[in-house]
Amino acid sequence: MATPSKTPPGADPKQLERTGTVREIGSQAVWSLSSCKPGFGVDQLRDDNLETYWQSDGSQPHLVNIQFRRKTTVKMLCIYADYKSDESYTPSKISVRVGNNFHNLQEVRVRTYTGPTSHIYPPKNSPIRTFMIQVAVLANHQNGRDTHMRQIKIYTPVEESSIGKFPRCTTVDFMMYRTIR
């Protein structure tokens, strides 16, 4: 329902959720930023609207800290930035670190930003269980100082374990009997 008005094709924030394989769990976390310009903070980063963005206001590296209440399985991180509109504000090198707390972070991924949507998977594609994730913008395009980031989403794999430890059923016939609703 909160689809932004002018979503570029292929960038619908809810698209992945509809496949039913992942669930967005950003709402279960505490988000904080290393710096931001007033009016361009966490809310704009998490509002499902690709028109609004976070603008940092400090020195590099710019950080987005995501802290969960409990150790959470993270399957994938999804970052949306737009080179066409942001140009020098667009991040070019992103590093993802995980750990238990601020002092315990370990880098697991360094990515070069390519294309509007970046899907970042943990190594070996197996979901990572962690308390905290830190997304660090190490460098921007054209050596810009500050960065714009329009949306970040975190996904956890959906375990279809309504009953039994089996993967999901595929046919409607099975799913009909799976649960009493």
């Binding site: 009953i163 039994g164 999901r168 009997y177």
Partner: protein
């Protein structure tokens, strides 16, 4: 002052009757200011309440003393509507602190409206957790007035096992000590005045009209009033029967209890067709010869065949026989009804029970008045039946010929004709039927019909509430067609299919409901869940849009909307809508249950638990909520707790194979594999079409190392559900255990083919773990890392597949 009041009161009632609430309120306010009596107070409060402003009525009645039962009843009703249950109870019974009146006191005090009062009191008791007292009140209310459906419904919801046959029948309480006709005039005025205030506005108007119309005004009014009075439903059947018995050959008819008769048969309807198709409508009301207005709608009877409670039919025949006062003229009536029945579709033109009473002129007038009585639209149930009755003015002379004609058309009529002939001969010999008597018999017949209908529906509803779904379906399907094709019946049949987990059938029935009664919201939440199970997202979203557009204030619409988004995997929005449903109606248990399921899907298990518990608080017999609790505990791996809750749910709904399946799985998790297998066998016995039971049975057998049996089970399952990847996955695992690696690989690859995306990690892991001894390298997981597109998963699968194929090709199949 009394003189001044009556015309104003009449005007107010008329305004109310025409839903002109502003006018009514204005006049009533003036009247109350002028007179200040309790009657006027009651009238004003009624105007407020009917115009939808219960709080106004409440405050008005609170600030002024109200001692009359009507005022107190209305005050209690306002209290309940405003959720002030304690106060309502206090008004009715004197409260918790004061000495409480017993229910018998209430009955004597409230007199005619005792049944409604007790029903309201029962409702209060149930809401305040005093279920025993509540059900007692409901029972008493039903005893007093068997036409009330809501106490019966509440009792069914509480899980009480009632016998609809006993409930919906006229007992001695209802039979007024009816003065045999002619009725003493002296009774009428007082009776009329007493009831005038309590009855719907129609009464005064009718009475006025009637008075104007005939010299026998008093007779009519009395019969009217006696008919209107809900607690005095019909004239004394005993007296009537006695009369009929005294009519000689009645005895012979009474002595044939097994003749399937309907009131209709008396009218020459095809007796065998529908012995007791409830036809509350027809009373022959205008027997004047030459009047062609005989409407006898046999559509119901033609369609439905039922076995009659023969006793009832007999008793009905009794009085109605007496009604056949006409000497045997030709009865041309029948063919017309048949044709009409063919033509008429609406269920309102129900199968008639034509009882034509009239003999001579004054009696003719009598029924006509009754007709007009019945014509008056009113909101009371009795008047509904009256309305139905009036549709079929008929005349006896015509009836005979019609009977004869119909006989040729339909041999089933023979019996009825015999009866008719007997009737007519009997009646000929009698020359009875004073006007009042006839109207009494009319009423009697009509009420019998209504009660028959209530009994049937009551049995069906009772069966449904006990989750005897098959029985409920058969009972409800056997009501006459014009009743079957209504929203209520079809909705409950749909619900019965839903509880049986036959979702396609349920969907078919519910879509019929939508077609017939697009305005119906009750039961739509079940329809939406059916569509959710069937994953018909288009239909579900259409339904959701339709309902939310139509009525934003009903919880069902928001439940449907929530289900729609839940199907689209947008659980946050679904949660929002279910919360809205709860906001709209905090007493709607299913909304809590659905919300709990959504929280469970978003892994917020604590909130889910709270929601399910709320649902149980609202309705203890809501087995879905018990199931939900069990499911949460299962997710949290508290298996014994899960089993307890599942068993509790099963105790409420013992025929649910899905529930048994879950219990089986939990028992297996608790290492009680034998009982698990037994439970699953039971589940399969109840519903052989449930593939998941077989699947779980196979997996338990597999876990217990009974590979052959598991394989056999899975092979059968493959036939039933050929496209399900899980089946192949499990077969693959079994073969792997059996060491037949090529078959295992084959099945794994099939499984992956069928389910390329999805949580396939398990399948891949299963393939991973398997190793083929010598040759090929273990299937490496060359998964892609951060590609910008979503292609990685499919390419991953391809890579995997190629590995698999390499492995397979190496292996000699």
């Amino acid at each position: 002052m009394t003189v001044l009041q009556e015309p104003v009161q009449a005007a107010v009632w008329q305004a109310l009757n025409h839903y002109a609430y502003m006018d009514a309120v204005f006049l009533a306010e003036r009247l109350y200011a002028e007179v200040g009596s309790e009657e006027a107070l009651y009238l004003l409060a009624t105007c407020y309440f009917r115009s939808g402003k219960a709080y106004k009525a409440y405050r008005l009645l609170k600030t002024h003393t109200c001692s009359t039962p009507q005022c107190r009843y209305l005050l209690a009703k306002c209290c309940v509507d405003l959720s002030k249950l304690a106060e309502g109870e206090q008004v009715l019974t004197g409260g918790v602190l004061n000495k409480q009146k017993s229910q018998d006191d209430i009955i004597t005090e409230f007199g005619d409206s005792a049944s409604f009062t007790l029903s309201l009191l029962g409702h209060i008791y149930c809401k305040t957790d005093r279920v025993a007292k509540g059900s007692e009140c409901f029972q008493k209310s039903l005893n007093l007035n068997p036409f009330l459906w809501s106490p019966f419904q509440s009792l069914c919801h509480l899980g009480e096992k009632l016998d609809p046959d006993q409930v919906f029948r006229l007992s001695s309480l209802h039979i007024p000590v009816a003065p045999p006709p002619p009725i003493s005039p002296a009774q009428n005025p007082s009776h009329r005045l007493d009831t005038a205030l309590m009855e719907t506005p129609q009464d005064t108007l009718e009475l006025n009209r009637l008075n104007l119309e005939s010299s026998n005004g008093k007779l009519t009014s009395d019969s009217t009033v006696s008919y209107i009075d809900s607690s005095l439903i019909s004239p004394d059947p005993c007296s009537l029967l006695a009369n009929t018995v005294s009519m000689g050959s009645t005895g012979s008819l009474l002595g044939k209890p097994n003749k399937p008769k309907s009131g209709r048969s008396l009218l020459g309807g095809p007796a065998a067709l529908s012995p007791l198709t409830p036809s509350f409508g027809i009373l022959a009301l205008d027997p004047s010869p030459g009047d062609p207005g005989y409407l006898q709608n046999y559509s119901g009877s033609l369609d439905a065949q039922q076995t009659a409670p023969s006793k009832k039919s007999v008793s009905r025949i009794g009085p109605s026989k007496s009604v056949f006062g006409q000497s045997g003229n030709g009865r041309e009536v029948l063919p017309i009804p048949f044709s009409q029945s063919q033509g008429s579709a609406p269920h309102s033109s129900t199968s008639p029970q034509v009882l034509s009473p009239t003999l001579v002129a004054p009696p003719n007038i009598q029924p006509r008045r009754s007709t007009r009585l019945f014509t008056s639209a009113s909101s009371t149930a009795k008047e509904n039946s009256k309305k139905l009755k009036m549709k079929f003015p008929t005349k006896i002379p015509n009836r005979k010929t019609k009977c004869k004609a119909a006989k040729t058309a339909n041999s089933n009529l023979n019996e009825s004709l015999d009866i008719l002939k007997l009737d007519s001969s009997m009646n000929d010999s009698k020359g009875l039927s004073t006007p009042g008597y006839q109207s009494i018999t009319l009423q009697r017949a009509a009420t019998d019909m209504v009660l028959y209908m209530l009994r049937e529906l009551g049995r069906g509803y009772q069966a449904l509430c006990c989750y005897n779904c098959q029985e409920a379906i058969s009972i409800l399907s056997s009501v006459p067609a014009h009743h079957y094709n209504t929203g209520w019946v079809l909705t409950h049949i749909g619900r019965a299919y839903f509880e049986l987990a036959e979702y396609t059938q349920a969907e078919r029935v519910f879509s019929e409901v939508r077609r017939i009664e697009a305005y119906r919201v009750e039961g739509m939440e079940i329809y939406s869940t059916t569509l959710w199970h069937l994953q018909k997202d288009v239909a579900l979203s259409a339904l959701s849009k339709d309902l939310t557009d139509m009525d934003r204030l009903c919880p069902q619409a928001w439940c449907v909307a929530g289900n729609c988004f839940s199907l689209q995997q947008e659980h946050d929005i679904a949660i929002k809508f279910f919360q809205r449903a709860i906001q709209v109606d905090p007493g709607f248990a299913y909304a809590y249950t659905l919300l709990g399921h959504e929280f469970a899907l978003t892994e917020e298990l604590d909130r889910a638990l709270a929601c399910f518990r709320n649902a149980i608080r609202v309705n203890n017999r809501h087995y879905n909520a018990w199931y939900g609790l069990g499911m949460i505990y299962y997710k949290q791996e508290k298996f014994s707790l899960a089993e307890i809750h599942f068993k509790k749910a099963l105790s409420i709904n013992p025929q649910s194979s899905v529930m048994l399946c879950h219990i089986g799985v939990v028992q297996h998790a608790l290492k009680k594999s034998d009982s698990a297998l037994e439970t699953l066998n039971r589940a399969i016995g109840i519903d052989p079409k449930n593939p998941l039971c077989k699947f779980h049975r196979a997996s338990i057998l597999f876990a217990n190392d009974k590979y052959k049996a598991a394989l056999q089970e899975l092979e059968e399952l493959k036939q039933i559900v050929p496209k399900e990847s899980l089946v192949y996955f499990l077969i693959g695992k079994v073969y792997k255990k059996l060491g037949q690696t090529h078959l295992a690989l084959m099945n794994f690859s099939w499984a992956m083919d069928l389910d390329p995306k999805g949580a396939n990690n398990q399948i891949k892991e299963a393939i991973d773990k398997r190793y083929l001894p010598e040759d090929e390298e273990p299937v490496t997981e060359d998964f892609l890392y951060d590609s910008a597109a979503d292609v990685e998963e499919s390419s991953m699968t391809d890579a995997d597949d190629s590995q698999l194929h390499t492995a397979e090709s190496d292996d000699v199949l």
